[in-house]
């Protein structure tokens, strides 16, 4: 234990003396938390709508006024014909066209009403599909009101009722913030201790350590413990910022978050050290690490939902430890899940921690 203490002292002194690292630990969470949530928004709130009104009836006027009144749309006027509206759609001036056919109101009460045509520009798939849904809801609501006033059975005004759970405001920032915290932890705990080890290889100082009776475990632990602590501190800064700037506080318990975070940093730093142990140069280590971190970010439900992946890809994600932490963070932060409710995620993460750290200790060779 005495060895571990002197090694820890050495690592901490070196981190403190490093001209850049301590500043990055403070600057990184601040920069990520303050900037990224504003620019990676997927909220749809400016759908540009044009209406081609071939009916000129009270129904079409009602639809128009509803579109004008909605905060989701910006009404770009009535087009004289579908042709001109379509060319505006192609040039990107408008996103959705509502085409109300001639005689729409007259046929409303008949058995076979003429359909309204909706056309959306789906180059931006999210905006296209979400915008289309909003337009549909708005149109149906307008028609429903008219039908009610005329004493007809409303077709579907209340038939479609959409309710969003857990992130009720559909605030994309709230969805992104736990993800950003995970990215910060991933960068600090995966990259930095690993690069630290490779730099000792490059400068030759590790050879002097290898020729001493120091145990592989003490040496590795001394490399990792400071970054575990730094990771948890940085996470706390990020959570504080989420509360101060975005008013987002964890719905679940802090204990559940910190337990998950602790397991996660231990797992990922073990992975980083294993990569460092098999790399001889900084280039090699960074390249291999980056490859895996990219896969982790794209395939763990961090940025896109897991359920939208093909089944085989979903199966593969069980191999990636960040998957479990992403689930834990979102479940605890946004849904208020307790540890007992998502205990499988904690167990899987703990197993991953054991596997990666065993790998890290085994790949460290003092004698080759």
């Amino acid at each position: 234990m005495g060895t571990l203490r002197v090694l820890l002292e050495k690592e901490i002194t070196q981190i403190r003396r490093n001209p850049i690292l301590p500043r990055i630990f403070v600057a990184m969470p601040i920069a990520l938390m303050l900037v990224i949530p504003w620019i990676t928004t997927m909220d749809v709130n400016d759908v540009k709508v044009a209406i081609v009104d071939n009916d000129c009836s009270s129904v079409s006027q009602r639809i128009t006024s509803h579109v004008k009144g909605s905060t989701y749309f910006s009404f770009r006027g009535n087009a004289t014909d579908y042709q001109s509206a379509q060319s505006a759609l192609e040039s990107g001036e408008i996103d959705v066209i509502i085409l109300i056919p001639n005689g729409f109101e007259r046929n409303l009460s008949s058995q076979q009403p003429k359909p309204i045509d909706l056309t959306a520009n789906a180059v931006n798939a999210t905006k296209g599909s979400l915008g289309m849904q909003y337009v549909m809801q708005t149109t149906i609501k307008a028609i429903g009101e008219i039908q009610q006033e005329k004493g007809l059975n409303p077709t579907s005004s209340d038939v479609i009722a959409i309710k969003y759970f857990y992130n009720e405001t559909l605030n994309y920032q709230h969805y992104m913030i736990p993800a950003l915290m995970i990215i910060v932890l991933l960068l600090i705990c995966c990259f930095i201790p690993a690069l630290n080890i490779v730099s000792e290889k490059e400068s030759g100082t590790i050879e002097q350590i290898n020729v001493t009776p120091v145990s592989r475990l003490s040496f590795t632990l001394a490399k990792l413990i400071p970054f575990w602590i730094i990771g948890i501190i940085v996470l706390s800064i990020a959570m504080l910022l989420a509360w101060l700037v975005y008013g987002l506080t964890p719905t679940g318990s802090l204990g559940a978050i910190y337990l998950g975070a602790a397991l996660f940093v231990v797992t990922m730093s073990g992975f980083g050290v294993a990569v460092a142990n098999i790399s001889d140069t900084m280039q090699q280590a960074i390249f291999v690490m980056f490859f895996f971190v990219m896969i982790f970010m794209l395939m763990s439900g961090l940025l896109t939902p897991l359920t939208s992946m093909p089944q085989w890809a979903q199966d593969v994600t069980y191999l990636f430890p960040p998957r479990y932490f992403v689930k834990i963070m979102r479940a605890v932060y946004l849904k208020g899940a307790t540890i007992a409710e998502i205990k499988m995620e904690y167990i899987c993460l703990a197993c991953a921690a054991v596997v990666f750290n065993t790998l890290a200790t085994l790949t460290y060779k003092k004698q080759s």
Partner: protein
């Protein structure tokens, strides 16, 4: 005490089809200053790394301080000191911090640590530079500090791989005084060098050519054997036989 502190038999190290060290055998007795000479690429560092438990032998056997180099590498490590070709202390730690780190690693108590650091600093007349970052020292001083670190825990044997490479003649002289001092206290010295004047200081010298030991004796006897005036000439005669290049 009569048992050799290093005993090596038919030691080999192969990297793929390249034989870096080819069947070397020798003994080193306690208290000796053993010079391990050879041209660049002759296999000195590779052989030394095997003795220090940094590298596994491909074949052959050996013991250092009574421990098998193949199976008891970690036990060897607590009985030896090692100073590599490349300066390998931490540039961003001070002289004192580097010494304290290694004292701690070798398991010295707090009191022993402080005491032996004081002794070393005194010996080097370096107390004023105690809190200087090692990276800021000139090379000659760095090497002296590295030597002190390698002998801080009073090892039975210390391995020095070209400790005076690139060091000026005055500092070289001072460095050898440190070596003599350690030897006088009973530490066995195993040293590689390219300076033939340094070879003359050794009790016995081996000369490696192309992975094999071609000569092994005291400098005096080697000179007689080759009927020459200096170690320099002995070395040249042998090194000229080398076939492989760096």
């Amino acid at each position: 005490m009569n048992e050799p502190i290093i005993h090596v038999e038919n030691l080999c190290k192969k990297f793929d089809d390249f034989t870096a060290v080819n069947q070397i055998s020798f003994d080193v007795s306690r208290g000796e200053i053993f010079g391990f000479l050879g041209a660049n690429g002759a296999g000195k560092t590779t052989a030394m790394r095997m003795l220090c438990g940094l590298s596994f032998p491909t074949s052959g056997m050996g013991t250092v301080a009574g421990f098998n180099i193949r199976t008891e590498g970690e036990k060897i490590k607590s009985h030896i000191g090692y100073m590599s070709q490349r300066f390998s202390l931490y540039d961003d730690l001070t002289v004192f911090e580097n010494m304290k780190l290694y004292a701690g690693i070798y398991g010295l108590s707090r009191q022993q640590t402080l005491q032996s650091i004081d002794e070393k600093l005194e010996q080097l007349q370096f107390a004023s530079e105690k809190n200087t970052l090692v990276g800021a020292l000139p090379l000659g001083w760095k090497q002296k500090v590295a030597f002190s670190v390698a002998t801080l825990h009073r090892p039975e044997i210390v391995f020095l791989d070209e400790p005076t490479g690139g060091v000026d003649p005055i500092t070289r002289r001072q460095f050898w005084e440190l070596i003599y001092n350690a030897a006088a206290n009973g530490t066995t010295i195993f040293v590689t060098t390219h300076y033939m004047d340094e070879a003359e200081y050794c009790s016995r010298v081996s000369i490696m050519v192309d992975g094999k030991i071609e000569a092994l004796d005291s400098p005096k006897k080697l000179k007689e054997q080759f009927s020459v005036q200096s170690m320099d000439e002995v070395f040249r005669t042998l090194a000229r036989r080398a076939k492989r290049t760096e």
